[in-house]
């Protein structure tokens, strides 16, 4: 009886989601009529579905023309297909692998050292060290913040570089020139933030990418809003040759854990 009722409740949810065929719909409607609890459940779940179906995001349009998106995808695909000159991904993967190995090998050793061997000591309560603990927590927070800041910076830098490298909108002012919009201004703002990024071991694995991104942003920062097509192409070739977009994605993921 209870199991049958539970099965009915699942069907009540599927009914609210509009997923029952006519026969099931009739069967469940009859049950709902006779069961006050299911009736209430039915009304509440329908309200949830109504809220979902009234969400304007269901009909939202992307804020980027298709041709721009296609150019961006082609840029990344092109980059991925260029053979790697130097296996720079090691710069990201190696420190991460080393840290994982160290955790596996060293943590048990350290714990073993720290573990009390004298049974008399075991019986005593472990003294709490609030100051060290607080400092440790603050260190971890700073570490995480440094990595998060670097990840955000790289993510925004990536967007600027893609905007310029995939730019295909002709400038109104002059033929043979492309409009890169606010990319130079954004690059300058990002470079100002780059100076504030903490240079420490928290972001050590990202240093090579951070340096390459900085160079690329410096080039973009020097550009006028209306750029010669060949300058955009040169920058695009450089981004592709260095696999910069893919490296930024990998590094950002690594920083974000």
């Amino acid at each position: 009886m209870i199991l049958a009722h539970l099965r009915m409740r699942r069907r009540v949810a599927l009914r609210a989601a509009g997923l029952l065929d006519d026969a099931e719909e009739r069967a469940i409607a009859a049950h709902v009529e006779s069961c006050a609890r299911c009736r209430r459940e039915d009304a509440e779940l329908r309200a949830v579905v109504e809220a979902l179906e009234a969400d304007p995001r269901r009909e939202a349009e992307p804020d980027l023309p298709l041709d721009v998106l296609v150019r961006r995808v082609e840029l990344e695909v092109g980059e991925a297909l260029v053979p790697h000159g130097r296996p720079r991904w090691w710069l990201v993967a190696l420190p991460a692998a080393a840290a994982a190995l160290a955790a596996v090998v060293l943590v048990p050793l350290v714990l073993e050292k720290l573990a009390p061997t004298d049974p008399a000591v075991v019986a005593l309560p472990v003294p709490s060290l609030p100051v060290e603990e607080t400092e440790g927590a603050l260190d971890r927070l700073e570490h995480n913040l440094a990595r998060e800041h670097a990840a955000r910076y790289l993510s925004e830098a990536r967007d600027v570089l893609v905007t310029v490298a995939a730019s295909g909108v002709d400038c109104d002012r002059e033929e043979g020139r492309l409009d890169v919009g606010e990319a130079p201004d954004r690059s300058r703002a990002l470079l100002a933030r780059r100076a504030l990024l903490v240079e420490e071991e928290a972001v050590a694995s990202a240093r090579a990418v951070l340096d390459d991104v900085e160079l690329a942003l410096r080039e973009v920062a020097e550009l006028p809003a209306c750029v010669r097509r060949r300058d955009v192409e040169r920058l695009r070739d450089e981004v592709v040759r260095r696999h910069l977009l893919m490296r930024i994605r990998l590094t950002t993921r690594e920083l974000e854990g």
Binding site: V48, V49, D63, L66, L69, E76
Partner: protein, 193 residues
Amino acid sequence: MEPARVDSVSDRDLMARLAAGDRDALAPLMERHYRRLFRLCLGYLRNPEDALDVVQEAFVKAFLNAGRWDGSIEAGPWLSRVAVNLSIDRWRRNRRRQITFAPLVEDDHASTLATHGPGPDQGVVRRERRDRLDRALARLPARQRAVVVLRHYQDMSLEEIAQTLGMRLGTVKSSLHRALGRMRDTLRDARES
């Protein structure tokens, strides 16, 4: 460049061309699917910039992994699966970031108070409703959230959801049931608080 004649070529043909390394097949495939995938990712991630970035990444992955597509599911659901997996990955990273940083409050008072369309009161109500829905979806586990989004933002049937997510039909049904129940509880709590 001549516009691509999208309707005359099937998704399967385009995927076969992608698998053979033909970059010209990207544009017509994107033209067919990018709007749908954007709405899927937006339903999941709730942020248009993230959604667009994930759609971009999904097509890059589609090109690079087209050789692995064996045709056992259609290209549309396959692309949806790629987009859902990337959305789940992005969502988890965003969550970790929010744990470190204080939650970012989107300051859209200006748009709320704008005189176009509904008045300020209606704008506030709409915004509250949207925030409540965001919170209710945010509390769902990753897969349940995906099931809800595929059903209510993509109008997929249970079978299509199962195929897209590689889940059993029964699991999809129970996931949807649990997800709607959880959302009901969260929305109720929000109203009562």
